[in-house]
Structure formats: structure tokens, C-alpha cells
Amino acid sequence: MKKMLVMLMVVFLVMGFAFAEAQQETMSEQTIEKVIKTNVMASGDLEIFSWWAGDEGPALEALITQFKGNYPKVNLINATVTGGSGVNAKAVLKTRMLGGDPPEAFQVHAGQELIGTWVNSDRMLDLTPLFEAENWFEVFPEDLINLIGTDEGIWSVPVCVHKSNVMWYIPANLKKWGVTVPTTWDEFFAVATKLQAKGIVPLSMGALWTANENWENIALAVLGVDDYNALWSGDLAWTDAKVEKVWMTFGKMLDLTNKDASSMSWQQATDMVISGKAAFNFMGDWAAGYMMTTLKMVPEKDFGWANTPGTTGAFQFLADSFGIPKGCKNPTAAVAWVSACGSKAGQDAFNPLKGSIPARTDANMSLYSVYSKSAAMDFANDSIVGSLAHGCVANEGFMNDFNSVMDGFMKNRDAKAACLACAEIAETNGMTK
């Protein structure tokens, strides 16, 4: 009996090896073109997958309400998984896709998170016909379309745009301490010495991913727009002396931050500025949404903003978009949903509530806050570069490994070692030329 049990166990173990080899059958190919040509009214179940819950929930609700008005026959299932920047949602989505249970449409960051993860795996439907039918090539900026498209097609519809190189402060506090807003890193370090003498933390920071965001701000400042882009295209080596200078500046910056950063959320880091414990905070402009909507603060009066030091004239951006996966069970409804996401009315319903700016260039800006208006101006005029921390410029493998490099750097502050490590992870994740 016992021997039999052991034998059975072995048999099952071996079976595990065997069914690893079994192949999933490929689904029949649907195309967006067919859907657009047949032109039936959308109906049936439509499951949309996103991480817009909590503070961002009302914005999504507004978009859904509008969609339901236009398509009353569609039964919309709003599948959200909470967690900022999609930390939990992305994992859930991956297990669903691997398990053969894709939603009709899902949220994804424009850039490498879309291209590197899903398009390279041949999981998305080409939306080029929809872009042509809706005349979207005219209304979305070209820089943005490059991030959601490849030579083979366009893979998602951008909904909102965020800026990540923003420095937040409280004007009244700066006046009280007798400092002005620094525009370069030399100025920033000079101001920081002054603030430290008064016992104020010059720069507040949160958990590890916010350190990545500060790093990308500094990389943009030290390298400039061209070299920053060259770094991601593989034209500038990670071992270059300029990149080492990025890490050295970043190390100096770390000395100016709060000691308890790793246990704090980004909201808590922003709170430190508001309560006057810290002078500045670098954070994407969802911080504006947090201060205006949750804390009811008035832009320009209660809080001020500027580009992070050394990045004047540059807009470090990330964008949320919706794509339709292959194997989607109700393509008609899915197409209806993404067209609502890309429509002018849809974007104007969604973005003012979320605190982001619309991806379309023809939106009705009178609906937006003072901050969003200024950000939209910058988006139209500045050079646009992608963000690292939010999946724009590097694939997910690199991003994950970059976290370990960052973690190591925080321990040993060795700029040279960090450069070498980055060169190695860029190589293993296929980011070199």
C-alpha cells in the first residue's frame, strides 16, 4: 500500500512534466475591421479590467455612466483590482490571460508595459482601423501614438496623461523659511543646506517606487532630453560617465530625504510637505488630484508647483490606455467601450475628476483645474519623454530588476556598482542594441 502511494506520487509528478508540454489551442482570429464594417449595436456582457478604484473610482464611474447612456443594452462589468500604479491588478490580469479568461478590454500603461509585455506576446488586437474610422490620428499627439503603436499596428486607446517631473511645495512655508523655488540642482543643494540648518527635511520621499521616480527626474535633469532618450534606446551606455553622475547626484539627493522613507506611502510623503515637516516633494501630478480632491486645497494659493530642478522645458509623461486582447468574447461591445474612452466627451468626463490631462489635443480645457490647464500647456509645448517608474521606457523585466539595483544603491551608495548592475540588467532584459 505504502509503496503504491509513493509510486502514484511519482506518476503524478511525471504527469506534471508531461502536461507542461500540452499546447493551448489557438483561438479563431477576429479583427477590429470586421466589427467596424458590420456596424451592429453593441449588446451583451462587457467586462472591463482596470486598477481605477478608491480615489480614482469616481472618474471611471463618470465614464461608465456616459457609456451606459449611449449603449443601454450592454451589461458592463467593472472589474477593478485596487493598488496604485496597478501593482496588484497587473498580476491578476496576467493570471487571467494565461488561464485563457481575458476580459473584453483592459487598462495598460502606454509604452513598454503595453508593447514589451502584451504586443510582443501577440496578445492584442490591432486598433488601426478604429483610429482611421474615428479620425484619431489627427487628435492624439504623434509622440503618444508612437508609444502605443509598432510597425504592425496600433494597440490601445490612450485615456489620460500624467506628468511625473513635478516638484510640489507650499508657497507660504517657503516664504516663512526665506527660500525661493530652485530651478537647477546646484540651487537645490544650496537651498537644502539652508533648510537643514533650520531642521526642515529638504525633500520628502516615500517607498521604493517613489525613489525610482525621483531617480528618473534626476536622470532627465543631468542627461538632458536627448541623452535621456538615448539611454533607453541603447545608444548611451549605462557605464558612461554621465550616467555615473546621475547616480552620484541621486546619492546626494538621498541624503536630503527623510530617514523613514521606505515605510511611507506617496500620500504620506506629500503630507510631510503640507504639514511643514519637509519643504519639497517630487511626485507625479496625481498629487494635485490628491491635494485638490481629497484635501480640498486650492491650487496656486494653498500649494505651488514647478518642474523638478533642471527639467525646465521637458515633460516626463506616462499615459493610461485601454486595449482589447485577442480572445475577447464580445468584440462589438469592446470596440464601443474603447471608442468611448477615446471620444472627446469621454475624456472630458473622466480627466477633470482624475486630475489628469486629456490625451486628445482638442479637449474642452475650461472644464479643468488651474493645475491641469498649466500641465496641458506644457504637454502641448515641451519636449515629451517617457517615465521609467510607470512602464513607459523600459520593459517590466528591467523595471523589476531596477528595483533591486535601487535597493542595493540605497545600502552601499556606490554609483559605479549601480552603473555596472544597470548595464547587466539592461543586457539580460534585452534593452541594448
Binding site: L13, V87, T117, N120, S263, L420
Partner: protein
Amino acid sequence: MNISKGKKKNKEKLYSLLILLPSILLVGIFVYGFVGNTIWTSLTDWGEGAGLALNPIKNFVGLKNYKTLFFSFTQSGFRQDLVNTIFYTLLLLFGTLFLGLFLAIMLDRKVKKEGIYRTIFLYPMALSFIVSGTIWRWLLAPSGGVNQIPTWFGGKQNQFLWISSQKQILQFNWQNIWQVLGVIGLIFCVIVLLINIKREDKRKIIIWSCVSGIFALFAFVICPLIPPVLKSEEKHGLNLAIIGIIIAGVWQYSGYAMALYLAGLRGLSGSIKESAKLDGANEAVYYFKIAIPNLKPITLSAVVIMAHISLKMFDLIYAMAGADNGFTGHPSVRMYLTTFRANKFALGAAMAVILFFLAACFIIPYMVNSHRSRRPMR
């Protein structure tokens, strides 16, 4: 007569097999089948390239993923996580067992309203790790509850960062990992040797002195000769940030250890205690010389239960420190991130297999032991 007995026995065997069959099938497929699948995945390169494709390309690469985990420059975080696991296990074990035993002895002394205390101490175990983790994260925040305690007495606020401290003690260099393992083995052998010298067991003294000699030879003669496993120095050690997590874990599970020990203490017959008293033993002597040695089987099962809980700390760490806090890292958290955030499925599977074998290290000896001790009773 004999034949019919044999038939009856066969029939019984058949029935028992039939009853067991559904669970054998389910466990076989959903446990052993998937364990086998994970082991297979860990030997492939799934995740290099388009990992999420409908039919991802998986090439057999042998032990490459394991080599990456232990000896590559980029995976130093995983190695620190392994070191963390050892300390998580040891500290959680000692914390819960000592506190649990202490509480059990206290309650064993016929306290009034004992049931209430028992419920209070056992209650934390009913909470999920996520709930207790969230509460403790607030309590242990840099300017949170625990650090404020000194101010109640007019002192200065405590500055220790319970879950985000960057300090590390007991550091060693991973380049010398073989030597470190050798020295740990040597220390263990010498302790066993000393115990046997005290017991004057001649045969065992000879065996264990030979084993100690081998370890000493390995650690101090052979190891310096083999080249270092890494190109550059890499320090690992006990991160002080894990203390916060341990406190929460001990708080949650010492009640459970208490329940185990209390059952054990109640199981000792009253006559032992009385005869000990008649022989002039006081309470301390009774507990240390008589009760605790008699609780050995309970300690053994408690060790196994706590050790495997320490391998499942994912939720507690996730709730208290977040996924990216490298100072409190654990292989299970890293496995999740590697698999589902970085899409490196094969590397993640290799981490899972290592965790699986770590768990097996604790559980198999226990199962063998309990199987052996059960046999004579039959």
C-alpha cells in the same frame, strides 16, 4: 478458514482504496502534478522573450536558473532574502516557543477565570496576517504608537525604525558562503559532541569527533583553496528591519504555542506533580526538570508548525512592509514579483522550488519521526 480471512482482508483493502481514490486523484493532480509542473518550468527559459504569448516558447536550459539565483550579480536580493528566511525562522521559533511556554506555565498554576485569559491569548491567531500586519504597521510606524511610549514618561521619542531600518548585523561575505556553512556545521557538531561527552557515550563521541574534524577540515583547509563564488564582495546579514515583522508574528502565534503547551501540561498526570512535591521539588524544579523534558513531543510539533509558518510569511510582510522593501524581503515575495511583475516565469518557478525544498527540510524529518513513534502502538 484462512482463505476466507484472506479474502475479507482483500475486500477491506479494496474498499479503503476506493474510498481514498478521489482524494488520491485530486491531491495527485492538484498537488503533485503541479509540483512536477513547477519543477519542469524551473528548468526552462520561459519568460525570456514573449513570456505571456498564447503558446510561450520554453526551452530546456537545465539548472541555469538556479545558477543565476545563487551566483549571479543581479540576484543578490534573492540571496539576502534566503538569509532573512533563516533569521525569520529562528527568531519566530524562539519568540513563540518561549513566550508560549511562559504563558502556559502561568496559566497552569490554576489562575482564576483561566478561560478568559486563554481566549485572549489565543485570539490573535484567529486574525488573518493581513489584518494584524496592518495594525502592527501603524503601531510600528516611525512616529507611530510604539515609538511614542517613552514620551508618556517624559522621555524622548524612540527613533528606531522597526520595519525600515537599514542596519545590518552579523554580516558575512557571500563569496565565502561555503566556509560560512562549514563553520555553522562545525559549531553544530561540536555542540552535539559536548552533549555526548557529558553523557559519556563512547561510540557517539568517536563518531561526532570525526564529523567535527571533517567540517573543520572543510571550513579551514579546503574552502580557502576553492575560488570565491562571486566576482565581487557581497555582504549579507541580519537586517534589523525584520524585527518589526517578527514582533507581529510572535504576537500572533505565541498564543497558539501556549495552547499546545497547556494541553501538554494538562496531559501530565497529577500524580507526577504530587510525587515531585513529596520529594521536595519546588515549582521551578518541577517545571524545569520534570514538565519541560516531558513536553518534548509537543515542542517538536510546535517547531515544525512554526517553521513552516515562517516560510509562509508572505501576507504579513506584504501588509507591513510592502512588496519592495528590500530590508524585510522574503523569497516568497520575490517569487511573486519575479513571476507576475517581471514576467520571468522560469526564474520565479526556481524560487518556488527552493522554497518547497526548504519546507521539505522541516516537514519530512517530522513525518518520519512521528511515523516511527506511531508504529509500536499499532
